[in-house]
Amino acid sequence: MLFSSTVFLFYFLPVVLLVYFVSPRWLKNTILLLASLFFYAWGEPRFVLIMLASILMNYVFGFMVDKYRDDAKKIKWTMSLMVIGNLGMLGVFKYASFFVENVNSVFGFSLNDPEIPLPLGISFFTFQAMSYVIDVYRNDGRLQKNLFDLALYVSFFPQLIAGPIVRYQTVADEIVDRRETVDDFVSGIQRFVIGLGKKMILANSCGYVADQVFGQSAGDLSTTLAWIGVIAYSLQIYFDFSGYSDMAIGLGRMFGFHFLENFNYPYISKSVSEFWRRWHISLGSWFRDYVYIPLGGNRNGAWKTYRNLTIVWLLTGVWHGASWTFIAWGLYYGVFIMLERAFLGKWIAAWPAWFAHAFTLFIVIIGWVFFRADDFTYAIDYLQVMFGLHGGELFDQTAYFYIVQYGTILVLSMIAATPLPKYAVARFMRHEVNTDRPVLAVSAGLARAAYILFIFGISISYVVSSTFNPFIYFRF
């Protein structure tokens, strides 16, 4: 079920809110758990069993690490089994076909593709479940003895299928004891509506342009059109994913949960390292805390640091999808981050800010070509067109059409990808607390309400107008 669907907005959400808030405190987690399982089962009912198996497995591992914490040998075995169990499950469902395809290709075998369907959000809930066991092991979160509460942590519908990856320590206390307030609920509404608007108005409009351009053979594109396509895709993927994160954070807040931020205006970054501190923060911090630092981080000399970075960025690419283009995309970032660590970072720091911004954006946009392309051949052909190396046109009528037809939305999206709108709104909204001028304060408050409800109305109009609207991050 998508947040941006009529089923979610007009059936699932109101029913869950109603039942949740009229239920007694002791029943609330059960209500949320049942709602979350229903939410997950709505798309693909059979995969609920896989998620339940993952929950049960990690529930047992939680007890084991708590019990064997002080027994070095047993805890090593337990943690190894936990990693193998979780990654094994992820590997079977997400990477089996990719593995078979490559084995066949390299060794000339003709193994049958197992054609195992990919359960929605398996990468997200697997990482969350692993986070639980690791946090219990590290004493960053307490052992959850209540299976249903652990199941709620893993399956909680706002973040279940497209993140953010909520670490157990973040919500461990709130699962057991939380208070829902009107202020939190309203703040959740605002956040949800902003996310819905990002997804429906900006991401989908940019996505339409990107799909049209990337749907064509690279040889048919002019250089301008190729740039329009990749810029549109860069905006689409940001607003799609950050919009979904906003909706998840907003929904969580309505029910009294406080998730951490997942995006922080990544396109204003002045280096690739900074970009990754602002983009998909929950994934970056997961790899940092559960892979990079345990591997030794940067504490054991340059060679091991680069080895650790290579492993982390290889895994980052693999996590995004079972394809060599994703792996290349991950390693591409790994290379730039290593270069920045080696020398480039110092150079960039000495550059004028605008040039550092432009350079970083350029690197990121080129990276999206690999992320969006179906295969390497297309990615390379597309890049050749972008740089005028294909011998084709620089500008054509189709590019002219996309500029006229979608120029406004692309420019609006570019502005919305910066903190400028946030600053403008904050500047205006500060009048809301100006009690010396009550009329101004009331007006600012009413303007805020009108703005949110306007975005909500427009977003619904986009929801109703669309019939097919999958989130990009669903299959990761």
Binding site: L17, D183, Q397, V404, T408, L453, V464
Partner: protein
């Protein structure tokens, strides 16, 4: 003490403002969600959307099998989308934003130019499948001794292309597509009646509806004249209607055609006035649909005109709608000629005019052959057809495989 009182006062003011704003947001947000839920749970389901011209999905019946395989959820989502409260209001709102805020000139492939709606084809089509069909068709007809013609109506974007109406950023391959289609027809050796010869220099507003993709019945009547001129040599004694024989009638109320429904109302500057031509003495024919069971219809189905809905498709006045097979017979035959028309909806008004000229006119529409099992060549041979006339607009690239299957 005084300072504390002032501080309490400030807090109290902030709380009141916050309470008002929060209340508005809560009522607005939750009110919308729960209203949507209430309408779906307790409202009456709509059967059909006139604005979209299709049946709306209904709430599905649940069964263990459909729930487990996910089809129940799929059907439920379709019905939820179709039955959402104020569906067309939301769609129009989105189109309004798209046009007035985002400045998008085109919606769903349709563009408004000086109040006239067009759907240009951005890419050149290949007519190879149709080309193969034309050759096979010619062979069959030659063996049966049946003559054949292809009357090719210029579609609305072709007219706009010829008149240079599209702005420079609009890519239209319609002229090129038309050229390719004609090449295929001529390559196969089928005589071409290029209706652009008659219609090309007429003002567009006389030939085409502003808000619909079809030609006006007046344009179709001019095309009928050219077709009859081409058939004159073979059927010299078939009477030909002239404008003096016809009475122009108009329908009260606005007509919003197919393009208006596609592009949505915020893009529509003004509706059409729907007019039609009727022989002064009334029609002299009767129509059967899909065989001999469903007869007694008219080439002008005036029941359509009684539907008061905003998006009533008045173009269905002509022949009632599209059918796989229709047979028009003169109640008092003026001759015993039998013409078979292979057609799309452009041909519908022409069929009524042809019906006044030939004793029997049959029409086959390959797009609907799933509804009624019929073969073009068998039909022509078994029904003593004298000539086969294709009456199509030039946007028929997708019909090649259907024609080949239906031959």
């Amino acid at each position: 003490m005084e300072q504390q009182t002032k501080s309490d006062l400030v807090r109290s003011k902030k709380r009141r403002i916050s309470w008002v704003v929060n209340s508005i947001l809560l009522i607005g947000f939750l009110g919308t969600l729960f209203y949507g839920l209430a309408v779906y749970a307790f409202g009456t389901e709509q059967a059909r959307s006139s604005s979209e011209g299709r049946m709306l999905a209904q709430r599905p019946e649940a069964s263990a099998e459909t729930i487990l395989d996910g089809t129940y959820m799929e059907q439920f989502e379709k019905s939820a989308n179709d039955q959402v409260f104020e569906r067309y209001f939301w769609i129009e709102t989105q189109a309004w934003v798209q046009r007035n805020v985002l400045q998008q000139q085109m919606n769903n492939g349709v563009i408004s130019i000086d109040g006239v709606l067009y759907a240009p084809a951005p890419r050149a089509s290949r007519y190879s499948s149709l080309g193969v069909f034309f050759k096979d068709f010619k062979k069959e007809m030659d063996e049966a001794g049946i003559s054949y013609y292809f009357a090719s109506a210029p579609s609305k974007p072709v007219y706009a292309t010829r008149q240079n109406l599209f702005p420079p950023y609009i890519e239209s391959a319609d002229g090129a597509n038309r050229g390719q289609l004609h090449e295929r027809i001529e390559e196969a050796g089928i005589p071409l009646i290029d209706l652009e010869d008659t219609l090309g220099d007429k003002p567009g507003k006389e030939i085409y509806f502003k808000t619909d993709h079809h030609w006006r019945p007046e344009g179709a009547f001019l095309a009928y004249g050219q077709i009859m001129e081409a058939l004159k040599e073979e059927f010299p004694d078939a009477p030909v209607l002239t404008m003096d024989d016809m009475e122009q009638k108009s329908v009260d109320g606005p007509f919003y055609g197919s393009h208006a429904r596609e592009i949505s109302m915020p893009y529509v500057e003004s509706p059409d006035t729907f007019t039609y031509l009727e022989p002064k003495g009334g029609v002299t024919t009767t129509v059967c649909h899909n065989g001999d069971e469903d007869c007694g219809h008219s080439v002008l189905d005036k029941d359509v005109l009684k539907n008061p809905k905003k998006f009533t498709n008045y173009y269905n006045l002509f022949m009632g709608d599209n059918y796989a097979q229709a047979k028009i017979e003169q109640t008092d035959p003026k001759n015993d000629y039998h013409i078979l028309v292979l057609k799309d909806s452009y041909a519908n008004p022409v069929l009524g005019y042809l019906g006044e000229s030939f004793g029997t006119v049959s029409a086959l529409d390959v797009r609907y052959f799933d509804d009624y099992d019929v073969s073009i060549s068998d039909y022509a041979k078994e029904n003593d057809v004298d000539a086969v006339v294709f009456v199509h607009n030039d946007r028929i690239t997708g019909l090649g495989s259907m024609y080949r299957a239906g031959l």
